[in-house]
Every structure is written in C-alpha cells, then in structure tokens.
Symmetry: C2
Subunit: 285 residues, 2 copies
C-alpha cells in the first residue's frame, strides 16, 4: 500500500516517519515543488520516491495534503477531480472553515477527511521532521460525518495507531478555538520579537540580557511567514477578534502600570496564573 505526502515538510514528513515506524511495509511517495525538499525527503528516508502530483494520485491509497493552507485550497479540488474511486485525501491544515467549504462543494466530498494535528515546532521543511512530533498529541477531525466511512476509518486507524488522540468538531468550532489557543500565540510572539528588534538595534544588548524566559516566549517568532500568513488570512474573523481581546487586555494592564494600580496588576497576573493548571496537562501529553 502506498501513501503520498504532498508537501514534504515538518508535518507531512513527521506523519510519514511516524507511520513508517508503525507500518514498515507502507511505501511513501513524495510530491514537492522544491527540488531541495525532494532530495532531503529521500535522503532522510521520509519517502521512497518522488512523483508528480497526477501520478502520485494514481498509485496512492491515501494522499496526505500537508502544504500551507493557501496551497491546500488550490490543490484540494484538483486532487478530488483526479482521485480514483475508493481512494482518500486528508489534509493537515491549521484552518478548517474554508477548506471544508471547498470540499463540501465537490461531488467527491466523501473521499476527503479534514484533519488538524495539534503539534508543530517553529521549524519547517523536511529537515525539521521527526517521528516523535505527532505521537501522544491531540488531533482534530472536522465534519467526520461528511467523510465516507471507509475513508474515515482508514484515517482514524492511522492516527490512532501512531498514538494520537482523536477529537471531533465542526470547522466553525475548530477555527474559533484555534484562533485563541494557537494563532494568537504566534502573533503575540512575532510581535514581541519585532518590538524588541526594533528597539534594540544593538543585537549584543539582546544577546547579553535576554534570558531563557524571553527565548521561550519568542520562540514561535521563528515560524514560517509563508505558512502563517495564509492561516491568519483564512481565519481572519476569529484571529482579529482574538487579537482585539488581547490588545484590550494589554491596554488595561498598561493603564494599571501607568496609574501604579498594583492591585489590578496583581489580580490580572493571579488570574493568568490559572493557565498553569491547564499547561501541566499539556506538557504531560
């Protein structure tokens, strides 16, 4: 059985490596427009061969669409057009609303499974892939009832067998929650990095004075702009609302600091501390 990975980067590559560990007899076909990514994916043993998309679709039982979300929107209808009966396409995109809308408009909607694994790092490309990225993490399937039972069962079995915890929700729920628990953290981190860079023209000052706390908070600012710009765009209504809420809170905190209102500062931080309980669970995952 063959699985194609379209977009052999961090997520697609890590999914292939985890599947390979579990199913040594699966064969992997890579599709990637970058010749460098092709070479790296072959050299790392992520895929066994590179094929053009059209050919990959003819040989693979499951096609994993793991490109940035703007490319998913372009490729998904084309792929469904060409998909042989009984075969499946799943995506790994960080937004689900527009992608599911596109799928819904296609007569082969049943052969598509909309998937989003809650995992990633600030790195990208096949060189960043590692087989431990996905196992033990949560993964969300949207509109599962719109997928054909066989397509859904295949995807669920793969996700389950590499040790992921499968959750189900609508694309609307997914995009709203993700704006808060993922998209917003990326923006806060990008903005933090840029604020410090614009102020501290002298890099040595950052280097000498930043601690591991800064490093951790700003880690996501290293993430790929090409990947994130279309995510923010596709989820703009929710992201804008989350960002508005965040700015409002920051302004309140600034007012408390400006007016030396230590009680409000303390209250603000004590409430925020509560995230600790929840993080304890996430870190254990």
């Amino acid at each position: 059985m063959k699985v194609s990975i379209i977009g052999v980067g961090l997520l697609g590559g890590s999914f292939a490596l985890a599947l390979r560990e579990k199913y040594p007899h699966l064969e992997f076909v890579g599709v990637d427009k970058s010749p460098v990514n092709q070479k790296i994916a072959l050299a790392m043993g992520i895929v066994d061969e590179i094929l053009p998309l059209e050919e990959a679709l003819q040989v693979a039982e499951l096609n994993v669409l793991a490109t940035p979300v703007d490319i998913i929107m372009q490729l998904l209808p084309q792929m469904l057009d060409q998909l042989p009966a009984g075969r499946t396409v799943m995506d790994l995109g960080s937004t689900k609303g527009l992608i599911c809308e596109i799928a819904d408009a296609h007569p082969r909607r049943g052969q598509f499974v909309a998937v989003h694994p809650m995992a990633g790092t600030e790195h990208s490309g096949p060189g960043a892939a590692f087989k431990e990225l996905l196992p033990t993490k949560n993964v969300i399937i949207c509109d599962s009832e719109k997928s054909h039972p066989d397509s859904l069962a295949l995807v669920e079995a793969f996700l389950h067998d590499i040790g992921m915890k499968v959750h189900y929700m609508t694309p609307t729920e997914h995009d709203l929650h993700l704006a808060y628990v993922s998209h917003l953290s990326h923006i806060s981190s990008f903005a933090l990095g840029l604020t410090v860079l614009e102020k501290e023209k002298d890099e040595k000052a950052i280097f000498d004075m930043a601690s591991t706390g800064f490093s951790s908070t700003v880690r996501l600012a290293k993430s790929s702009p090409q990947m994130w710009a279309p995510i923010f765009d596709q989820n703009k209504k929710n992201v804008s609302r989350a960002l508005g809420d965040y700015i409002k809170l920051l302004k309140k905190f600034k007012e408390a600091i400006d007016s030396e209102d230590l009680d409000t500062s303390l209250d603000f931080m004590q409430k925020a501390n509560d995230i600790g309980r929840i993080l304890a669970g996430i870190e254990k995952k």
Copy 2:
C-alpha cells in the same frame, strides 16, 4: 566563611547551591519570613541554619538579598545601617534604578554591589531552586565603580567561579533594556494566558487544542505575581513604553489581517524571524 541568603527562593537558593558546589567549605545562613521556605531550604541543603536578619548580618561575610524588589527596597537601607565594616551586601533584583538610588543615598554605598543574573524560570520558592540555573548565564553588575574594590572583587569572583558571564552597565541602561527583553515578555505571556482563559470558559477545549507552541509562549504566565507586580511598578516608565510599542505593532498587524493585506503580514513576520539568529546564541548559552 559564611554567606547569608535573604529570601531563600528560586534565585537565592540556586545561587547558594551553585556556590556550594564550587566552595564546599562555605557555610550558608538562610533568612526567610516563611516557616515553610525555611524548612524546605534546610531540607534541600540550600542553607545550614536559619537566623533572623540582624544575626545573619553579624556573621556573614557576604549577604545576598534575593527577595522581590519591593522588599529589597525596604531591607537594603536597614541592612546597610547594621552592616559591620568590611562586609558586603549584594542584591539579585530584576530592576536596578530605584534600588541603586536608595543605595546611593546611604553612607555605606561602597559595601553594596548591584547584581542581576539573566536567569529564572516560571517557578518560585526554594523547592524550585537548582544548582544549574545560574552557571553559563549572563549577569549584570550596575554602577560597579560605586562599590568598594574589595566588595566588588568578592562578588565578581563568586559570579565568575560559578560560571557566569559578567557584564557592566548603568542602572538606567539596565532598566531600559530589561523592559524590552524580559519584562515585556512576561506581560505578553500573562495577557495571552488571560485572554485564552477568559474566552475558553471550557477548559477542556484549551487542553485538547493547545499545542506545545501555546505552552511555550504562555509559560511565563505561571510566574509569581508577588514578584512581578513590584518589578513592573519600579520600572514603570520603561515597561509602559515597551508595552506601548508592543500594542502599536499588534494593532498594525491586526489592521493588516483585517484588510487582507498579506504583504504587510508577510513583511512583519519576515522581520520578526530575524530574532531566530539571536535566539540561536541565547539557547547555546
């Protein structure tokens, strides 16, 4: 030779543990108003005995003031009042402007060394202390020329011998830089945690959907409010300016998202990516 640790928490405790490893014959005296912290500090072998502050000052060659910065401001003048000739007080506070002003007004200014190690975690208390926290990290001494050469030499020797890299600057420079590379990251993280908590009344949604990226960005939101409220207050001019810069950038980014201006989003993130080069250095430290 005895060293007193006033405020046996994460920083004071970690400093004692690192010194103990290097100088097995040093004796450590703990001063802490919390009976629980006293017991933990003794049980962990951070200190050998607990004494009231007045008595500790009579027996210790070096007194390490490692309380929150508001308590440093209260205790420093009292301690200098009672400090025998030839003895030294150093602090480990995250702000330096007001602390150095208080020291400057005291006739025993020379016996004080103003120190800030660029290290910490989101945890607090003696139970969070570990001997690896400070070694290899940067540490800043402010107004070193105002310290008596013997006091300065003792503190520099200790910092150097536990493997820290010593830098020198004025309190004004210190507080300005720290607002950007440390205080701002804490606020951005507190605000992120609180924004998500206020939105996601259903904790399970956060738990199921947050990834390690969220966890890392929001880690500092677990930090101690009692420690940070006085830091923000003492450094309010710089923190308010840094926070103002941060809010301004976030608004620009929100505008770019709202107006579907992907070029500006991309540009913003590409510039922020540059922090990666600098982080690479910090993480190696």
